[in-house]
């Protein structure tokens, strides 16, 4: 065992991280997220055209100086539609992550602090939620709630409750075992005080890291459900929906699919990178 400990850099991960510049990537990722947020809040800042202006004469134009990402089958500017679509996509994703984070954390917190019998029952239910693939669970909920952006967001959020509950519970259990928490309890602090003043703040870090990763997963799920036609109906704009519309013209217009796809992939890659960075930071903490 000592052999392995003495040789530095025997695991390539360390060598890899010293090669790249994590600081730069981190700020770049943050900048991308900031840009997306600005797009979502005030799309008119970035859009070059009216996203709904129909110009049948200029339909299905390849990318050019006038239309950066080309035009669709009604002559609408794809770039502007993407910029405006950011709003719906990010809104649905945020609702989904917030829902999963709040309800999942609550379940995890209750489970972790409750007596063992209650804890094991709650975790059984969580195991079942994890046994059904997220997308299928979301599809069931969409069937029950009806179609639209908000039902899709709720469905995706409910699908992620299980993983939030699980990580929150394990974090709560870890923090509860720490000496300072036991000491506070011994000094006579009430259970509620210990949980909200000490356990919750210390358990929150990894949960927030998971929330960042889940944000990327939610972007994927929301756009998949929209693509399948269960999201907002067509006059609305959403990344997955734009691709679903472009799909009908797949053999004539590659730009209708490629650019929205790149935006989705870029967003997910960015949030995944941020999430991993946060996870690594928390792993270094303890």
């Amino acid at each position: 065992m000592t052999d392995a400990a003495v040789l530095p850099g025997s695991t390539p991960r360390r060598r890899w991280s010293s090669l790249s510049f994590p600081g730069l990537n981190f700020w770049l990722a943050l900048a991308v997220i900031g840009l997306l947020l600005v797009c979502a809040v005030s799309p008119q800042l970035f859009a070059t055209h009216d996203p709904l202006a129909i110009a049948v004469r200029g339909k299905l134009q390849p990318p050019s100086a006038g239309h950066w990402f080309g035009t669709d089958h009604l002559g609408r500017d794809v770039y502007s539609r993407l910029v405006y679509g950011t709003q719906n996509s990010l809104r649905a994703t945020s609702i989904a992550v917030a829902l999963g984070l709040v309800i999942g954390s609550l379940i995890g917190l209750v489970s972790g602090t409750a007596p063992q019998r209650v804890d094991s029952r709650i975790m059984r239910v969580v195991d079942v939620m994890l046994a059904i693939p997220n997308l299928l669970l979301s599809l069931a909920i969409v069937t029950a709630l009806g179609f639209g952006l908000v039902p899709v967001a709720i469905a995706v959020g409910v699908g992620s409750i299980g993983s939030f509950a699980r990580i929150m519970r394990s974090e709560v259990l870890r923090v509860q075992g720490a000496t300072f928490v036991e000491a506070t309890a011994l000094l006579g602090a009430s259970k509620g005080y210990v949980i909200f003043r000490h356990v919750l703040p210390h358990a929150m870090g990894p949960v927030l890291a998971l929330a960042t990763v889940e944000f990327g997963a939610a972007v994927l799920s929301v756009s998949s459900l929209s693509f399948l036609g269960f999201g907002a109906p067509p006059p609305e704009m959403e990344w997955g929906l734009l691709i679903a519309e472009g799909r009908k013209f797949i053999n004539v217009g590659w730009w209708l699919i490629l650019f929205p796809s790149l935006v989705i992939v870029g967003t997910v890659l960015t949030t995944n990178h941020l999430g991993r960075e946060l996870e690594r930071r928390h792993a270094g903490d303890h």
Partner: protein, 330 residues
């Protein structure tokens, strides 16, 4: 309680395989599997039949104008006028006999529709899983920067994280666009020749390959820092042979994710089969949700949960065979 092998592993091992030793383990695992199957049915039932208040109004759509008499008649026809607990007990009893009622749209038996569509998806999923294992392993190995391999490890180590970041429908559409419409190598849709399987299988394989690549590359990195690798190097074994041993060791954590990957493949098949217009489980699911066919959706979700349960049961039971260090726990 674990059936602990004694110091003489060789003499102790055969006794672990007697049925008497294995029975409590098997019983417990089977009970657990049955519980998950039951609970997933209950969860699905609760979402589909209880959450909306009235299944008939889902079927008809929110803004349907039906006169109350006809509404009541439909409710009575499907048995939705009975108390919820009776409906549940009835549905559970029928589900135990693999009967999920009839599709509300086509009128066909849900079980028959699933049985008809399952082989199509199974064939696709098998090829996709094989592809994702090959692809994932290749990426993980190439990311190691082993002596004698091309030294682009940094590049290969990024690919799995890109694979998991790309939505399935994007992969499908981009493959379709490039190979079917631009190069015209393979037909775009249909399910008659094996050529039509290539693109869907590749599409389904990408997310699995990404997941597997990430897990495997982590555990391979760990394995390569273990002493036995250095020992083998010092004894002059070829890199390929060392890799074989390391892969055997490192594949074990990845093996436990089989259930997750198969479940993910089933979920991705919804999108993949929609993109490639194949008549499988996923397409059935997409149509079920579009038509608000709750019986069909319920049957399909229980079906996929059952698949997950069975795969996990198999993994649990096979794991000690693959890794002698792990013992059956009752």
């Amino acid at each position: 309680m674990s059936t602990r092998a004694s110091g003489q592993a060789a003499s102790a091992r055969p006794s672990r395989w007697t049925f008497a030793r294995l029975r409590p383990v098997l019983t417990k695992k089977l009970l657990q599997a049955a519980f998950v199957a039951w609970a997933s049915f209950t969860l699905t039932f609760a979402i589909l039949y209880w959450l909306p208040g009235d299944p008939v109004s889902i079927m008809l759509g929110a803004d349907a104008q039906v006169d109350p008499a006809a509404f009541a008649k439909i409710r009575a026809q499907y048995g939705f006028d009975r108390p919820l607990i009776i409906q549940y007990a009835d549905a559970l009893w029928r589900a135990l006999h693999l009967d999920f009622g009839t599709s509300l749209v086509t009128g066909k038996s849900v079980t028959a529709s699933i049985a008809e569509a399952a082989p199509v998806t199974a064939q696709l999923a098998f090829i996709a899983l094989a592809l994702s294992v090959i692809l994932g392993t290749t990426l993980a190995v190439l990311s190691l920067d082993l002596p004698g391999f091309p030294r682009f490890g940094v590049i290969f180590s990024k690919i799995p994280s890109i694979f998991v970041a790309v939505p399935t429908f994007v992969v499908g559409l981009l493959l379709l666009q490039f190979f079917a419409f631009t190069l015209r190598w393979v037909p775009a849709t249909g399910s008659d020749s094996w050529l039509t399987l290539v693109l869907p299988a590749l599409t389904l394989a990408i997310p699995g390959a990404g997941l597997l690549g990430q897990v495997l590359s982590n555990s391979l990195h760990q394995t390569y820092s273990e002493t036995f690798i250095r020992l083998m190097r010092s004894r002059g074994y070829s890199e390929l042979r060392i890799l074989g041993h390391a892969l055997h060791n490192a594949s074990l954590p990845a093996f436990t994710m089989a259930g997750l990957i198969v479940g993910g493949t089933l979920a991705s098949s919804v999108v993949t089969e929609t993109v490639f217009s194949r008549q499988g489980i996923g397409r059935l699911m997409q149509m079920g949700v579009t038509n608000k066919d709750i019986n069909l959706v319920c049957g399909l979700i229980v079906f996929s949960a059952l698949t997950y349960v069975v795969i996990n049961l198999l993994v649990d039971l096979l794991y000690p065979l693959l890794d002698p260090r792990v013992e059956y726990r009752a």
